[in-house]
């Protein structure tokens, strides 16, 4: 049901919407008491000559001067209804209540739809939280068994690569180590090896690192700190002049990765 315009009313006989000024319903042809036209001041421009109140009461169908009088239901007819007349007021209240009920029903529908949508979204988020990642905890820590094993294995492997070399195969050993380093660690490694290299070749040094254990101190998907126990054997010279030393070290190895493999990012000796 559409809202009544100010110049409209509802026919008391057939309930159709008709012009307020009508004296006969255009739908059911019932004779109607025309509504009183007042408030000519509301249309000062279109009604330059305010009509006397008595005239407007008796001639309620009077069109404003600018409108053709003969037009029975002109759409452009200016307001001529006084909403305060008893008849129109009753109709307005009824239709206002009907409108309100309508708006409320529509609002209920809209809210219900929104609630269902929001509930669905919450449900999906919850499901994802439960099922989503069993390998990574919400705080970012890596808990998946396979992922953690990969960290442990790579930390051991990369530590051995970095700390093992043989003067006979030094260039090759260094290439193997360099393949899995972050850019910053690579720089550090290069400058250390540049210093170590002459002595290694001159004294025929073989360094062998054997990782005894590796254990995760802290790990996310992209960064892991690992406690590595390593036994390093340093052999200098060959034949009868051979000289061997064993050192047992504790290292904190930091690994980093983007999308692919873990790379050596930092290596610190403890104690």
């Amino acid at each position: 049901m559409a809202r009544l315009k100010r110049d409209e009313r509802v026919c008391p006989y057939c309930a159709e919407t008709i012009k307020a000024a009508a004296t006969k319903c255009r739908y059911c042809q019932s004779e109607l008491t025309p509504l009183v036209e007042t408030a000519p001041e509301a249309q000062p421009v279109k009604q330059p000559e305010p009509q006397p109140v008595t005239e407007s009461v008796t001639k309620s169908v009077t069109e404003p001067a600018t409108e053709p009088v003969t037009e029975p239901d002109a759409q452009t007819e200016p307001d001529s209804v006084d909403a305060k007349t008893p008849d129109a007021s009753g109709q307005a209240t009824v239709s206002f209540q009907a409108g309100l009920a309508f708006v409320q029903r529509r609002l209920t529908l809209v809210l219900a739809v929104l609630v269902v949508l929001a509930a669905t979204a919450v449900g999906v988020s919850w499901y994802r939280a439960e099922q989503g990642s069993s390998a990574v905890a919400p705080n970012g820590s890596l808990v998946g068994d396979d992922a953690r094993t990969q960290v442990l294995v790579d930390a051991a492997d990369l530590t051995q690569r970095t700390l093992s070399y043989d003067y006979k195969t030094l260039a090759n050993d260094m290439e193997v180590a360099r393949a899995r380093m972050t850019p910053s660690f690579l720089k550090e490694y290069n400058s250390t090896m540049a210093q170590v290299r002459p002595n290694t070749e001159k004294n025929k040094i073989v360094l062998e690192a054997v990782v005894v254990s590796s254990a995760i101190i802290k790990s996310t998907e992209h960064r892991a700190t690992v406690l590595v126990f390593v036994n390093q054997t340093t052999t200098a010279g060959d034949g009868k002049d051979q000289n061997q030393q064993l050192s047992r070290n504790s290292l904190v190895v930091t690994l980093a990765r983007g999308e692919g493999d873990w790379d050596m990012s930092k290596l610190t000796a403890l104690g």
């Binding site: 409320q104 609002l107 209920t108 809210l111 219900a112 929104l114 609630v115 929001a118 509930a119 979204a121 919450v122 988020s125 919850w126 994802r128 939280a129 439960e130 989503g132 990642s133 069993s134 390998a135 990574v136 905890a137 919400p138 705080n139 820590s141 808990v143 998946g144 068994d145 953690r148 442990l152 005894v212 254990s213 590796s214 254990a215 995760i216 101190i217 690992v226 406690l227 126990f229 036994n231 047992r248 504790s250 904190v252 403890l270 104690g271």
Partner: protein, 163 residues
Amino acid sequence: MINIALAVILVALLGWLVLFAVRGAVAAPGSTPAETQAREHSEIGRAARAEALAFLTIDHTKMDQLTAQVLDGATGDFKNQYQASLKALKDSATSQESISTGRVDEVGLSEVDADSATVFVAAGSKVKNKGTKGEVEDRSWRIKLTMAKEGSRWLVSQLEFVG
């Protein structure tokens, strides 16, 4: 009336969604398996650190208290062995006037199961006794702990020094 109820529910749901967007899976009620696992890991680490520290701390003036602390975090083989050597340990601490201040540098978790875990600890202790002639000696240790879950607590069931 129903509209007000619906509006309240809607606002609550939207608030919850915002929580999901901001905090992620933490917004889910209860805890996810990953969350539980992460908590378990930190609990294992905490227990291992405390027991390693207790084990490395010796003070000949209060051995009863210190050894009771070690036994509290111990179970199985480790507990039996420690208990068996308790008298010898106390006697030697007293006769040597030993003082050892322990420290734990790092604790790392290796294999972790639902009720057992292997933990490695890089630790150290500053030792002073008659043998060191009053000097403080700094020693560092590599320790492997085997942990077992008993009830809600993680206890050390085996302690080995790594060679």
